[in-house]
Symmetry: C2
Subunit: 336 residues, 2 copies
C-alpha cells in the first residue's frame, strides 16, 4: 500500500473539493491509503468512513499571505508541517497539498530536506504543448537566484521525472533562452548551456526561445525560478486575456453570437486541453520524499490527478533514481 497524506486545508476550494478528490482517488486507485490532515471542524462535514481513509487532526492553518519559512517554523500543528513530517518520519510515502506554494517549498526543503548532492530542490509544473503532449517546466519559483550548476541539476531531475513518471523515453531537455543559438544568453544561461551540453545522462537539445518552449519539440524546459514564474504566469494571464477578448468580440454582433453558439463544443474542447486541472500538480523535485503541489484552484478532479502523480512517483522510485543519478554527477566543489 502507498500511503498518501493529503492536506485538507490548502487551496481555494478546500476542504470540500480536497476531500471529494480523496474519495475519487480511492475509488480509482486500489493500492493507496489516504490520511486527511487538517482541522477537525473543517473536515468532518465532508467526511464519511472509508476502509482506506484515515484522519489526522491539526489545530493551525498556514495562510497564503504568511511568510513561508516563518510559518513552517512556527505553526508546528498546521496541516503542511504535520504532513511533511509524516513523510520525513516514513509514516507516509507522499504529501499532496493545494496550499501555499511558498510553504510547500519551504516545508519540503526544511523538513524533508534535500537529497544528498542536490544543491536546490525545484518545483516543476507540467504544461500542455501545441502537439497535445506535456512539458515539464523546471524550476518554477522555488529558486529565484540560481547558479548554472543548479540549472544542470534541474535538467537531470526533470529528465528523470519525465522518463520515470510520465513514461517519456529519452526526454528532450531544452534551456529557456533569449535566442536559439549556442552563444546566446545572459551570464547564467551561457554557463548553464555548456554544463547541460556536457551532461551525458540527459538528452540536451539546446536553447528554446519563449515562443518555442511549448511547441511540442521539448519534454523538459530548464530555467531559473524567476524566469519560470514569469513564463508560466504570463501565458496563464495571456490565455485568460485572449479568451476574454475573443468573448467580447464574439458578443459584438448577432451573427458572431450565433457562430459562437454553434462552436461551443470546439471552445470547450480547447479549454479542456489548456486546462491545468487535467494535469494534476507540480512535484517538488530534489527532496528526500514525494511532495506534490496541486494548483491553488484545484477541484476534486485535480486533487485526484495529483494523488495519481504521487502514486506513480512512489511506484517508480523517483527519489532513489534522482539520488543515484546525481551521485555520479557530484563534483565535490559544487556541493554546498
Amino acid at each position: 500500500m502507498i500511503k498518501i497524506v493529503l492536506d485538507a486545508m490548502g487551496g481555494d476550494n478546500a476542504p470540500k473539493a480536497i476531500i471529494e478528490g480523496a474519495y475519487l482517488a480511492l475509488e480509482e486507485m486500489d493500492e493507496i491509503e489516504i490520511t486527511l490532515v487538517g482541522n477537525e471542524e473543517a473536515i468532518m462535514p465532508f467526511y464519511h468512513e472509508h476502509p482506506r481513509l484515515s484522519l489526522k487532526f491539526t489545530t493551525e492553518v498556514i495562510e497564503m499571505a504568511e511568510s513561508p519559512v516563518r510559518a513552517i517554523q512556527k505553526k508546528k500543528d498546521s496541516s503542511i508541517v504535520v504532513g511533511m513530517n509524516m513523510v520525513k518520519n516514513k509514516e507516509a510515502d507522499a504529501f499532496v497539498t493545494a496550499g501555499s506554494t511558498g510553504a510547500a517549498i519551504a516545508g519540503g526543503t526544511l523538513l524533508i530536506r534535500r537529497i544528498k548532492g542536490i544543491q536546490r530542490p525545484a518545483l516543476a509544473p507540467m504544461l500542455p504543448t501545441r502537439t497535445g503532449g506535456q512539458l515539464l517546466l523546471i524550476d518554477c519559483g522555488a529558486n529565484v537566484d540560481c547558479k548554472s550548476s543548479f540549472l544542470k541539476q534541474f535538467g537531470i531531475m526533470g529528465s528523470i521525472y519525465m522518463e520515470r513518471v510520465m513514461g517519456i523515453k529519452n526526454p528532450r531537455v531544452c534551456l529557456i533562452n533569449n535566442g536559439a543559438e549556442e552563444e546566446k544568453g545572459n551570464a547564467l544561461t551561457k554557463e548553464a548551456y555548456q554544463l547541460l551540453k556536457n551532461t551525458d545522462c540527459i538528452n540536451f537539445t539546446g536553447n528554446a526561445e519563449g515562443r518555442d518552449v511549448l511547441s511540442g519539440d521539448f519534454d523538459v524546459a530548464v530555467c531559473d525560478g524567476f524566469v519560470g514564474n514569469v513564463f508560466m504566469k504570463s501565458i496563464e494571464g495571456f490565455a485568460a486575456m485572449l479568451m476574454g477578448m475573443l468573448k467580447d468580440s464574439l458578443m459584438s454582433s448577432w451573427k458572431s453570437k450565433l457562430g459562437a453558439i454553434l462552436s461551443k463544443k470546439a471552445f470547450a474542447a480547447l479549454k479542456k486541453k489548456m486546462d491545468y486541472t487535467e494535469y494534476g500538480g507540480s512535484p517538488l523535485l530534489g527532496i528526500n520524499g514525494c511532495v506534490i503541489k496541486s494548483h491553488g484552484s484545484s477541484d476534486a478532479k485535480t486533487i485526484k490527478n495529483s494523488i495519481r502523480q504521487a502514486e506513480l512517483f512512489i511506484k517508480r522510485d523517483v527519489v532513489r533514481v534522482i539520488s543515484e543519478g546525481i551521485a555520479v554527477q557530484i563534483d565535490p566543489e559544487e556541493e554546498e
Copy 2:
C-alpha cells in the same frame, strides 16, 4: 521638415513593403522627408519619384545571422551603418529599420552613442493590453545582464516616452516580478524595486506578476532584457499556439465549422487588436538620437506606423527630455 532615414534592406518583406510604407507615410504626413537607404538594384524596381523622397545607395547588407557588433564594425557601407551615421552627423533626425534587432541595438549604441548619464540604452516595444490600451515593455533584449540602476533608468525613460510620444499622463510604471508584494523578487528586482520606489519623477505602482502585466493597469513594464525577451516571445508564441489549437478545434465538426464562418469578423477584429503591426516599432531609448526598430515581419502599414512614431519622437523632443530627466538623477558613482 523632419528628416527620416528608412532602411530599405531590413525585414522579411524588404525592400517592397518598406518602400510602399515610405509612400504611405509621405501621403499621410506632410512634415516629413524620407531618405531610402539600401542597395540600388533592390530599391529601383519599387521606386518612383516623390518631392520628399530621396535615395542613398549602399553596397553591403547586414544579414540576420551575423554577429551584430562585428557587422556594425565591418560593413561600413551597409544600410544600417550608413543610416545610423546620418543620424549621428545630424544629416537626419531619425532612423527606422526592420532589420536585425541586434544590429540596430549595436549600431545605435556604438555609432549614435548613449545620452550622457544613461548606463544602457534599452529597446522598448509596445504591446496591446486587455483594456484596449498599450504597454511599453522596457527592456526587451538590449541588455540581458542588468544592474538595478539600469532598471531604474529604464523606468524613467519608459515613463518619459509614454508621456511625450503616446500622450499618457503620469504613466503607471510597474516592475515585472515573481510576486506582487514589495518583498518578492530575485536579487536584481528586490534592489530595483527600492530604486524605482524612490524615483520621484515616475509614478511607480509596484510589482506586476506575469499574468497582470497586460491587464491594463500599467503603462510601462520594467524588466531586464532577458526577462523581457522571454516574456514577449512567450506570449507571441502562445497566441499563435492558442489560435492554431482553436482552429483545429473549430474544424473538427461541420457545426463548429459553420460557427467559425459566422464568427469570422469577430476573429478578424481580435486578430487586429493583437496585431503588433498596428503598433509600429520599438524605440531604442537612451541614445543620442531616434532609432525605431520595426518588427522583422513588418508590412507597409507597420513601416508607416513606425515612421509616425519617429515623427512624434522628434516633434516631442524625446532625447532632450530624457537627457534632462536623467541629468537630475545622476549619481556620479552609478555612471560607467
